[in-house]
Symmetry: C2
Subunit: 291 residues, 2 copies
């Protein structure tokens, strides 16, 4: 089974656990809306790619780690879209969760997806001594002091006090780092060696997002463009200009390729990273990346 099919199956199974005949009907629908149809699934694909590169020996643990990380990513998008943050009406070309189901259910769907992520880890890796280390990695990537909720909290600090690198590391980079590290740990390998690869990929992804926000066609993105400037948010495309940001993306992708630790599947993983880096560019800028 290919990686994308494994991820979709693991996410569908997780969401099945969160629904049932005695559940409030609209909560389950709001959670489904947040997770399906699929986005790029870039974090769980990274997780499974690293697990494979490390000689995966526990597919249930790898699937659980990948699904948990994607559920947490989806939860963060639901809360990030809320009126008190980005007030985004559209996500992946459809109404955002709070536009489709109302603000209360968007808050609760996000909360429930966070919990479901940890339940999914416990179900897939609960019998293994790897559960504790996996929880440490995933928890650190999403909570305070340096996970994605902390990254979002930097948007609540005075802009002049925010370090762009620190902000992007916690807003995006750390969940990529966790995806890579959790993939390794799910396969019985040491996680720390994979942090740098994930961080570089995550920073590349954030820079690419900034470029798309500043330069791309809204229809191509599935959400409105120009939000960072309108909302006064930190952005590499605003700080360095679009061409400076493109150079930065190329550098980060090259650093990610160089950061693959020695392992059985290193060659295939480097190829995957190069093709991801190309995919990250808006179509209007494609072809300029040589990672």
């Amino acid at each position: 089974m290919d990686a994308v099919s494994r991820i979709e199956r693991a996410l569908a199974a997780a969401l099945d656990h969160a629904d049932g005949p005695n559940a409030p009907p609209r909560l389950g629908k709001a959670m489904q809306h947040a997770v399906f149809p699929r986005g790029a699934r870039v974090r769980p694909r990274l997780c499974l790619a690293v697990a494979a590169a490390c000689g995966e020996d526990d597919p249930a643990a790898a699937d659980a780690a990948a699904a948990a990380i994607e559920l947490l990513h989806c939860a963060s998008l639901v809360h990030d879209d809320l009126p008190c943050f980005d007030n985004a009406d559209v996500r992946r070309g459809r109404p955002s969760v709070h536009r489709a189901f109302g603000e209360p259910l968007a808050v609760l769907a996000g909360d429930s997806l966070i919990v479901l992520a940890f339940q999914t880890l416990a179900r897939g890796a609960g019998a293994s001594s790897r559960l504790g280390p996996l929880m440490e990695i995933v928890g650190a990537a999403v909570g305070a002091p340096a996970g994605i909720s902390a990254g979002q909290a930097w948007e609540c600090e005075p802009p002049e006090t925010v370090d762009l690198g620190e902000y992007q590391r916690s807003k995006t980079g750390i969940l990529f780092a966790a995806a890579a590290m959790a993939g390794a740990v799910s396969a019985g390998a040491e996680g720390g060696a994979w942090r740098l690869l994930g961080e570089r990929l995550g920073e590349a992804y954030q820079v690419a997002d900034d470029i798309r926000d500043a330069a791309a066609d809204p229809e191509e993105m599935g959400k409105p463009a120009g939000r960072d400037l309108a909302l006064g948010r930190p952005s590499a495309a605003i700080s360095f200009g679009v061409s400076g940001a493109v150079e930065r993306l190329e550098m980060l992708a090259a650093e990610a390729v160089a950061a693959v630790p020695p392992c059985r599947g290193a060659g295939a993983l480097r190829g995957l990273i190069r093709s991801e880096a190309k995919r990250l560019m808006p179509a209007s800028l494609a072809g300029s990346v040589a990672a």
Copy 2:
């Protein structure tokens, strides 16, 4: 060390892990505001009381379970107070988190507290085979389909479709059940035998809260009264009248006492439950409870 001191120490240690020199400063402050100064800590006290009754042999796991459950309770209060739910200005006699720190940080503080709860479990029980079962119990109590976020989601369904018992079980009862079960599991005992005790106590607590909301002095409660009626929420005091709700509370407390499974510390635990049931009544109604 007494139970309350252990709980406060475990919570303070958990929050220390969530802060640091590179963290966004106001997020940590918002999380502290949500957890301290302490409320009644009734759930973690139940957890430690059951662990003790079961012959506690792993205090770190019991402390972690107790702290995790209280962190999840605090997180639910922060989100429950948000403008899109109760729009509560006051909690425990102080401004609610969103009134003190703004709505974005209230959402993020709640999210971070949920994550911190699972991190706390992993830190305290990560080396033990009890981590998986503890996570299953705690996760089921806070997520979908039947945990406290599902309980809150029933408030987003048409009122005529909501079963009061189901609503109260998931809104409050299940976290009490989890507190009792997690206390038992942290001590190596079987959790299921403790569910009924927790459910009855939780339902008693919810009924007491409904009575206080309908009948109590706002200063005594530390938050405004009469919110259930104003917001059209399910309430035992509205369904049965205050005196009917008091009778129901007495019955539930008696059932909780009867539900204590055979164990070394059963006598002490029954005494604790009786004194809790008295404490749950507003001062204006005290003396009528004979549990």
